[in-house]
Symmetry: C5
Subunit: 333 residues, 5 copies
Amino acid sequence: MVTTYYFLKNEIKKLSIKELAQVLQGKEGMLWVDLDAPLEAEEETVLVSLFDFHPLAIEDCQSGASEEGHLPKVEDFGDYLFVIFNPVENPNVGENQSSGRGVEIRTSHLSAFLSRRALVTHHYKPLRSIQYASQLLTKNPNALGRGPDFLFHIIIDDVVDNYTPLLDSLDEAVDRMEEEVFRSPGQRTMVKILSLKRNIQTIRRVAVYQREMLNRLSRGEFGLITSDEMIYYRNVYDHLVRMTDLADSYRDIVAGLLDAYLSVTSNNLNRVMKVLTIISTIFLPLSVITGFFGMNFQHIPGLNWEFGPLFATLFMIFVAVGMLWVFKRNKWL
Amino acid sequence: MVTTYYFLKNEIKKLSIKELAQVLQGKEGMLWVDLDAPLEAEEETVLVSLFDFHPLAIEDCQSGASEEGHLPKVEDFGDYLFVIFNPVENPNVGENQSSGRGVEIRTSHLSAFLSRRALVTHHYKPLRSIQYASQLLTKNPNALGRGPDFLFHIIIDDVVDNYTPLLDSLDEAVDRMEEEVFRSPGQRTMVKILSLKRNIQTIRRVAVYQREMLNRLSRGEFGLITSDEMIYYRNVYDHLVRMTDLADSYRDIVAGLLDAYLSVTSNNLNRVMKVLTIISTIFLPLSVITGFFGMNFQHIPGLNWEFGPLFATLFMIFVAVGMLWVFKRNKWL
Amino acid sequence: MVTTYYFLKNEIKKLSIKELAQVLQGKEGMLWVDLDAPLEAEEETVLVSLFDFHPLAIEDCQSGASEEGHLPKVEDFGDYLFVIFNPVENPNVGENQSSGRGVEIRTSHLSAFLSRRALVTHHYKPLRSIQYASQLLTKNPNALGRGPDFLFHIIIDDVVDNYTPLLDSLDEAVDRMEEEVFRSPGQRTMVKILSLKRNIQTIRRVAVYQREMLNRLSRGEFGLITSDEMIYYRNVYDHLVRMTDLADSYRDIVAGLLDAYLSVTSNNLNRVMKVLTIISTIFLPLSVITGFFGMNFQHIPGLNWEFGPLFATLFMIFVAVGMLWVFKRNKWL
Amino acid sequence: MVTTYYFLKNEIKKLSIKELAQVLQGKEGMLWVDLDAPLEAEEETVLVSLFDFHPLAIEDCQSGASEEGHLPKVEDFGDYLFVIFNPVENPNVGENQSSGRGVEIRTSHLSAFLSRRALVTHHYKPLRSIQYASQLLTKNPNALGRGPDFLFHIIIDDVVDNYTPLLDSLDEAVDRMEEEVFRSPGQRTMVKILSLKRNIQTIRRVAVYQREMLNRLSRGEFGLITSDEMIYYRNVYDHLVRMTDLADSYRDIVAGLLDAYLSVTSNNLNRVMKVLTIISTIFLPLSVITGFFGMNFQHIPGLNWEFGPLFATLFMIFVAVGMLWVFKRNKWL
Amino acid sequence: MVTTYYFLKNEIKKLSIKELAQVLQGKEGMLWVDLDAPLEAEEETVLVSLFDFHPLAIEDCQSGASEEGHLPKVEDFGDYLFVIFNPVENPNVGENQSSGRGVEIRTSHLSAFLSRRALVTHHYKPLRSIQYASQLLTKNPNALGRGPDFLFHIIIDDVVDNYTPLLDSLDEAVDRMEEEVFRSPGQRTMVKILSLKRNIQTIRRVAVYQREMLNRLSRGEFGLITSDEMIYYRNVYDHLVRMTDLADSYRDIVAGLLDAYLSVTSNNLNRVMKVLTIISTIFLPLSVITGFFGMNFQHIPGLNWEFGPLFATLFMIFVAVGMLWVFKRNKWL
């Protein structure tokens, strides 16, 4: 589906593809063309026939259809910039963390062509940030009027804002994991920690690539972004710096949790070993004592003595208590 | 609350907001405007109406109200610099370390706008460094007279000085932890080490960001800081280099403590295993000996012998002592 | 075997070596000379006599005959570029992973000389990418007509595309390994993880060297690659960035698997220890009880009592059940 | 104590502070002023009144009085360079390593102001390098005659030379530790390794900071060091490169020792477990055999047989030997 | 011993020191002066009197006499370059790896002064690369005729080629170690792995320093190396890149072996624990059963029954087999 927004004289009009072709002949007004899950024919018409973008850029757009997609990047084609962004699809990924191996964070794919007059966005899956920008335009047409670079900044700012709930849920997941490691570490704890670690790595990687991209966008490296707008891109950059910083600190914490988990496991082993030692220490000697009086010698002293069994029992209790006392003193209990 | 200090002809005057507006029309004198936990209306009046700062910078100011705040940064808006600093709130964090999971270091938020004539500071929580600067002004009006950049250096120098007790308490906490690991490692030792490690990481991160910021401020990258003052900023930079260096060495030590803790745990396991081995080695054979003479064969030699039991007992003692001797020789005891 | 493709006026002709010598005298047309497992005499004729390449570059070509070959590199000799690329030989390496120590990834060797008019490729083993380019030429002669740099880009793009099945099979191998570690870790699991890790390192290293090379090729550092073609080289560069990124994430996962494997092993030890403890805890005391009544004292109470054995048995069951209950309550079971 | 050396016409004269003031008015001769544990009044006179150094630099000088001191640095004040160096105090630190937790390396503090005509050194503790330079001057007055930068190079070269015995003793300590880990690892081995590691980190850090400083001094960054002298500074730089390289290799070795120690501990555990297993394997079955013939059944075969006990004994020996044989074959012994 | 080769008009002549002095007055011909284990007097004559090299460079030469020597470096003295190289002494170090703690790689010391007309090499130990170059000169005088920089490249190329057998033997040592870790890990395996790791680190360090040096030599940083020769230096650089790459991969493998060794050790512990558990599980209950019938109660049922012992035996076998079956089902065997 192709939606075209046309800004002229403080008004936003939606254009058909035919009208778009006409407008492109002219030199007036600002354009935003959004290709939402476009058919191949639509891609052909808009990207190739109307805008004549570079085949390699279009190929990169279409790589968004595959599961892996394309890493974030920005490329300067002279007349236009080509940008790939990775929005997140499932921001509540941390929520389901507790059940089994957890959900893996998946990133979506947003391609954009940014020229003096037009912004062309291309995505196969519906994106909230696009919706948000489209709603904003109806309220404030000037968001497009200030130029496609300003509108584009609004979209990616929203994309980055959408990472926030994801980070929050990771934060909670980290806290829950900490609780679990120290309170009730189980068989699946390790699996969960590794899954959490992987999600943090994913989010970190996405953030780092996009941070570097925005660093370039906000540094004035590309002429298409006016210096007035650069400060806005710097703002998005700051958000991504914050994100990578958070991801780094989560990563450190999770690395610590891994150590802690192994330590807790090892402590458990120690406790079990201590119980085992105590039992052996107490009952093996007692066993020998009973064995002693169970020998079939005819002359074992005291066998006929009336208080023999009592004495033997008391002796055994004495041995057991004595050993426990030694253990206590050595702090092995 | 808005407090305005106005320096003119070697004197400091406090201005009302109205007077401030007038002074801003003129070209004389130096200004320091401090917004301490300002109302939204005050922010509107001072930051927007009077000084006309960039909306994004004001937004960053206001992000200090959230718990996470904003990472330290410096941004050049041409007429003014916008700086965010992270003072620490609870410098005695190491003190409470010993009780449970320890206190987490929290950082506060100080925003500042620095122009030729004016320094505007903005913070939601009362800060000792601001208080200190304000007291200094009453004694030495020239601290503002030398320019807002000089006054600003005084404030951030004090902010950085306030990290010192924090680092001292971390130092003590590291020492205490070392004591604990090698003297009496317990169930909670691991938790404490991880908590300490996290605090060190936090302080390190804050110091690194601010160090980089001060490196830029002291390098002459920004025209607003005169080259005479740059040496003062270099001084603050040196303090932060020292801080990160200390944090690095603490981090190394804590990493070593983690290794040491696991090693101590493992040694404990070894000791317990040795005790277990010794007991088994001594009492299992004795048990077999008593069992031998407890068999109901009619022709076991010596059953009727008067000194049989004595002999058996001596034999058992001989076996036990012999085994202990073997152990001693092999250094297993 | 030397195959020579000559593009002139939209046509591709295959040339003999004699014809090649003539064409090289002239100034028209584009050339692609492919040396597939060439004899030494052929190398001598083409590389030395006809093209007069630098002896060191020819030596590097020939190092491809050894098992280790040469790392990817690009060198500017003024009139021509000399490039070494490492295609992979066995892209289905991950498949056989499950059997024993796995197959090691082996890289092949493709050398190329790239000048204004000619591309000379040199390899000792048949390469699919060369075949692919040769077939393309029959269909689309212009692929050579656009210049040797365009044709060369097609070849290395295909080389890099051939890494994809390799990465896919590594991906599957990582998944299978994850399954194995958490479901049925065995004696050989560690060996397999290390072998997988090594393959990932190999692929990562190859990708990183080639990425750096393509970065230089696509940055316009070498005059021989026209700025129109640079964007195509950038495209290959992007693929390699994606590859190293994937390899990095696989490496992280495998590092996690190593930790997980050790943790699973350690958990198994814990479980075995618990069983051992329970057995000792239950049967050692019972053994002492039977021993008690097996002592040969004449006055042990209850020996003549009719329900003595029953009572003793019940007492033993009571002790056993009580101990199990204590264990249950302490969550040691 | 202030000592002033004045070089004029190939002669060295010691000056009083008064004479120094006069000489500073003139333009002839070279000066070296050494402040050895100066009184505050002396610092005031020399650093402030006579030379008028920057207050921040003087403050940094005085920070040498605190235990932590200041990290090495160099700062250009236009007319003079301000340099802080960290000599080591106790170069034989490795020696005492073997006793307990070892001695921590402590660094001292040497500040220097270097101008065209004068070198001012400042330290609170007596330094051998200063003594050495002072003795050299009596023998070879020209060492000052070649300029303060030449004399300063002599001092810091000697400071760096004084690290050598420290590194040698660390080398020996590493060797001794290796011996200990593999021959007789004890309870305190871990503590010693960690202490050694910390000392290596300390020395490495000091070397790295000073190396970077000397890199800047020898690169011609500062106009005050003539290009003829730069080669001498380069020489000191080379020594520090060698030092960090050694420290790096020691660090690697100590990291290996930590691994080795844990491995040795784990091997010990294994050996103890094997002994335990063997004992249980042999004596538990024997215990059951004796128990079998100790049962009070009236019809156990062979109880009345004359060779019953002999047979039972032989059977028990057979079982024991058989088990040992199985163990031997499985290489568990 | 001083050997001087003098190239004039396509001929090589050996000169005495006297002749050398004369030739140095003139401006014709190329020179190679080799100081092989020179006496101090010879060093004095050649390096100081004849060539007048910088005292610091000569000092660095002489540091080759000490065991530690000097790290590789290159220094530009304007008229000449001073270069230190580290050839390896014992390239078959990997061979002896299997016996005990292995041989440590030792590096030798080759200093060289390279000027427009002359190459002066200086070494205390005989070097194969020097021999090789000297033999080459008799066959091909032009090797010196092309300039001292060409001859020097031949020497260091041979030095680097001499690392190859060393790397091959490390490769074999790594393979052997892998075999040992997985087949028959023993007490000394850990020591051997650490020794191997250390050798790899040494070789890596030497290669890295020399790689950086050759990078500078081949980049045209030094005017004394003509741009025609730079490509040859680039070739040596490539070899060193390959070397560090190999060393890196060996290091990764050895790190993996360390993990593997610990894992194998831990698996052994697990296996021993399982055997122990099985024995206890089977024989402790049997012991209780025999104990039951060994109690001296008069009314234990079945004591007088003819098939009592048989029944008891069968019951014991039943219990043992049942437990083994449970173990089998739980995959603990």
